[in-house]
């Protein structure tokens, strides 16, 4: 209802009648369209036969337990890769965000109190380090995840380092997502009111302490919805493991299709499972965002709250 209040008035009796008629007409059109454009062709090709659906939905079918056992293994592998990837990218991402904020403040320092050549050297060094991390972040944020995973799986053996395929997938996902998470956290820290960092340094905290005790906890709190959305992205991206033939859900699905020859049905079931999991995660993100917004509104006047909100949305958009 809230989205409508922008564009429409509260409908009167005539408008309600028009809406009702429109609803009925639209429903009829949709049902008829679905019947002729989707149901008829599929039925004509025998896609609704129990032979194709049975192994997936009928418990009395002989291959039902086997199929679901395989799907279970696939989902276990998917969830394992996703969990490992999200944990490691959170850790690496946090470290990277702290590093970038530290380097940025270091690059602004003038190093007075050192001998002149030494202070110039230190300034140059910190500027260089800052630039290097910036370039790394931009490069890995701009590369497709598929390509990163592919490069990891091809590149590591090239240099004589070999792992399980699980680790290629996890490393590939971590490289991309840690950079994204680092950017989320950094924008969260930079969006905080300047008084926070100033007050921290006024009571004598070192820059590292300021980041660790003052900025980072608040950034985590503000950016929690964006971080949860990133979880959905990681879970979806885990399905790219099939490129390097890691045995996750989609690889299993391919195997099932290879023996049962029912691609549409199998992908339908897999798709529904993904949708259910990811939809509940997105709902969780929305719920957290609403709660945070409520807490902030009552705790503080709305300075910067709007900015943080907008930042979250923009970041969430980038990462999909």
């Amino acid at each position: 209802m809230s989205e409508q209040s922008v564009l429409y008035d509260v409908p009167g009796p005539r408008q309600r009648r028009v809406t009702l008629i429109g609803s009925v007409v639209a429903t009829v059109l949709l049902v008829v369209g679905a019947y002729f454009l989707i149901y008829r062709p599929l039925d004509g090709k025998g896609q609704f036969s129990m032979e194709l659906w049975g192994p997936l939905i009928d418990p009395s079918d002989e291959s039902f337990p086997l199929v679901w056992e395989r799907i279970g293994i696939g989902f276990k592998n998917t969830l394992m890769a996703a969990a490992l990837a999200i944990v490691s990218s959170l850790v690496v991402g946090t470290l990277l965000a702290v590093l970038r904020v530290q380097l940025k403040s270091l690059a602004r320092r003038r190093f007075t109190g050192f001998a002149t050549p030494l202070s110039y050297l230190l300034r140059g060094l910190s500027a260089l380090l800052s630039a290097v991390t910036r370039v790394c972040v931009e490069v890995f944020r701009g590369l497709p995840v598929v390509i990163t995973i592919f490069f990891v799986a091809r590149g590591f053996p090239e240099f004589g380092v070999t792992f399980d395929t699980l680790w290629y997938l996890v490393i590939g996902l971590t490289i991309y997502n840690s950079v994204v998470i680092a950017e989320i956290l950094r924008s969260g820290m930079e969006g905080l009111p300047g008084g926070q960092a100033e007050a921290a340094s006024a009571i004598g905290l070192s820059p590292l302490q300021t980041t660790r005790m003052i900025l980072l906890p608040q950034a985590f709190r503000i950016m929690l919805p964006a971080l949860i959305s990133q979880l959905v992205v990681v879970l979806k991206d885990t399905s790219l493991g099939f490129i390097i033939s890691y045995e996750e859900t989609l690889t299993i699905a391919e195997q099932i299709i290879g023996s049962l020859d029912n691609p549409i049905q199998t992908y339908f079931v897999i798709g529904v499972m993904f949708i259910v999991i990811n939809y509940s995660l997105s709902k969780l993100a929305q719920y957290v965002q609403r709660r945070l917004a409520r807490g902030r509104r009552s705790a503080a006047p709305r300075t910067g709250a709007g900015d943080a909100q907008l930042g979250t949305e923009a970041v969430a958009g980038t990462t999909t």
Binding site: V6, A26, V145, V146, I275, N278, T320
Partner: protein
């Protein structure tokens, strides 16, 4: 490093094909996304349900699954996606007219998937307009169309341009998946081809492919950052 110079035509060809996919998919996704957004904010409940369902389905499904669906589902529906052989358009984008349907299937999957995100970006823009603006317009006696045209859309456009850009960047990156679905000759398939089949050294090929993608994504990202900063100042 010589592979970068010797096979420059292969890299350039891959870049050109990826660019074609991105332009076509962006066009399609913007159009379809706008339609879905209209459905989602329409006053008729069943249409709104269709729009919401569409967004929820495609936003929560991996693109990989969407692509498999397009590749298996469309033939089952009796279509080879021939409706995409648009006369005139297939002169520039020659792959649209080829007999192998994979390019068209991949394109359809990419459009369907991205449209959900485009719809959300547009809708968040409309929602960002304060309700008072539209109320004021109505009380001035503007009709629905005038209201949209002069009051709501100009403001929502400003709020949705940055999220929309992010969606397009994400789409460019997602297009890399196309190379693993039977589309021959785009950047990601070129990487596979050069390293595994033709046995070139890995690092130079990786650098070439990375440059190809970064040329598209990094400037667009920097441009969006600039717009965002300018808007932040204006606010």
């Amino acid at each position: 490093m010589s592979v970068l110079i010797d096979r420059f035509d292969v890299f350039a060809g891959g870049f050109w094909l990826t660019l074609q996919i991105c332009v076509l998919a962006a066009l399609g996704a913007l159009i379809l996304g706008a339609v879905v957004a209209v459905l989602r904010i329409s006053p008729v409940p069943p249409l709104r349900a269709v729009g919401t369902g569409y967004v929820n389905v495609f936003r929560n499904m991996p693109l990989t699954v969407v692509m498999f669906f397009a590749a298996f589902g469309l033939p089952a529906l009796g279509s080879n996606a021939d409706f995409l052989r648009i006369p005139g358009l297939d002169v520039v984008f020659s792959r649209l007219g080829t007999d192998l349907p994979y390019f068209r299937f991949a394109l359809i999957a990419l459009v369907l998937y991205t449209a959900a995100f485009v719809c959300e970006a547009l809708r968040s823009g409309v929602n960002a307009v304060p309700p008072g603006q539209a109320e004021a317009a109505r009380s001035l006696g503007l009709t629905f169309g005038q209201n949209l045209r002069y009051v709501v859309l100009p403001q929502s456009w400003k709020a949705s341009i940055v999220p929309l850009g992010s969606v397009i960047i994400a789409m460019i990156k997602n297009s890399a998946l196309v190379g693993f679905f039977g589309v021959v000759g785009d950047l990601s398939q070129t990487a596979d081809q050069l390293t595994s089949a033709e046995g070139y050294a890995f690092v130079p090929v990786a650098i070439g492919i990375s440059i190809g993608y970064l040329i598209m994504t990094v400037p667009l990202g920097a441009f969006l950052d600039r717009i965002e900063k300018r808007q932040a100042v204006a606010r």
